[in-house]
Symmetry: C2
Subunit: 295 residues, 2 copies
Amino acid sequence: MKIGFIGLGIMGKPMALHLKAAGHEITVPERKSLDAELRGACTVAADATAVAAAAEVTIIMVPDTPDVEAVLFGPGGVAAGLSAGKLVIDMSSISPTATKDFAAKVRAKGADYLDAPVSGGEVGAKQASLTIMVGGSQAAFDRARPLFDKMGKNVTLVGDTGAGQTCKVANQIIVALTIEAVGEALVFASKAGADPAKVRQALMGGLATSRILELHGERMIKRTFAPGFRIALHQKDLNLALTSARELGVALPNTASTQQLFSACVAAGGGQLDHSGLVKALETMAAHPVAPDQD
Amino acid sequence: MKIGFIGLGIMGKPMALHLKAAGHEITVPERKSLDAELRGACTVAADATAVAAAAEVTIIMVPDTPDVEAVLFGPGGVAAGLSAGKLVIDMSSISPTATKDFAAKVRAKGADYLDAPVSGGEVGAKQASLTIMVGGSQAAFDRARPLFDKMGKNVTLVGDTGAGQTCKVANQIIVALTIEAVGEALVFASKAGADPAKVRQALMGGLATSRILELHGERMIKRTFAPGFRIALHQKDLNLALTSARELGVALPNTASTQQLFSACVAAGGGQLDHSGLVKALETMAAHPVAPDQD
């Protein structure tokens, strides 16, 4: 299939190369940052308009809502290259509300639109093991499914347009609040004189079992706060959750307080730490780290 | 081994019967509530003093801190039957601070003491798959280990006296806050127009994966709030966490707000619901259930 790919960063590059390895033709827009590997594997077009004009399916993987808007509707953007029968897949993590607007404008060109944000990070992108949460029509999903299966493992059509982004917001809420939960538990245990490593070990296998207790609990204990997923990015995601919740009329009390803890981390210069570094904000409130920092 | 067992309720009865099935002699104190199965399997003694006098190891499994205190030090209590070389194992979930006092008094009699609270509930007790979190000496733990292995699967010596109870508090913090996290995510998704069942399915396998998302997420969606583990009991456990945290000088912001949500459930008459029913408090704040109630 002829695929356009826009946004070839830490996530997008391995995703595009998986599609290339599966036999697809990949077209990308010219950027000075394109490395030799990408120039060798892909056709380079002048801009996003040319990419979309050449491709049957155009995939977007950029950081935030304004970036997607610029890629789609800015000068030299995707929209100008669209025509009937083409498909746009936005795999960025952005606002569910804005997504509905973007999809309507794309459909007005006769093209179709899927929102398909991912979780699993850089490791998941490299290993083609991403979780992919999709919003849009069944027909568009069926058409894109073979592509998703080359980039991820747990691929779900969650619902109509925007449902993929809604699902990603739900994911970021659960991940942040579970990190916070594990943080409170380990700080409590440590302050009470118990060994947090033993506590974590004792809890694994029971009802407290989670991927977060396994991975992020260990990072808190071993003080390995190199990202991973940065606090500043997770803070952006919780802002998205709280903004959307306000629009919808939903109270998210622990999302709000966890966002404040991320803010405390950022204020203390920790915005570039892995999100497991949230525990440092809790430790400040206990004057007692889970374990000594190794600096 | 000669074992005394005090507290033969929903949890204690199957635990005692597993020990009997493994070939141990079980002595229990006379109670009108003892059923034919227990009377057939166990020797019945007059009171807890007689139980402790007859047993090498006395196991206690009662609801709360004052119950353990009464069993140990009340009239006809365990302490009066203790002598050098005996071992008391408290498998109830109680205060870590009170536990240190109880252990000191038991040791003054020449006996040893382990705190060994469990998680896994009635199902875990029946299937002998409990998680057992132990505080005390290595020697006492080694002596009790064969008994623990007949009642549970994940058995850990967490640390010194009280560390088992501290670990259980940590467990209850993580479980409550993860339920709350899943609740916020599913209410948000539902209010945003996505199908919460599809969202849960999409998130399973990713970083949001937890036993709680699997079990309690499903209960929220299917509206199956029969306990399970009752909100009123989990509220008791979070009170224990917050009281201990205040004594220790630790701030637990999301434990505090989650405790308030449990209080809202109790105020609305939901104290006897399964703890997954916490989602109802969040739904009230969104005026939108995850799915319709089935009554």
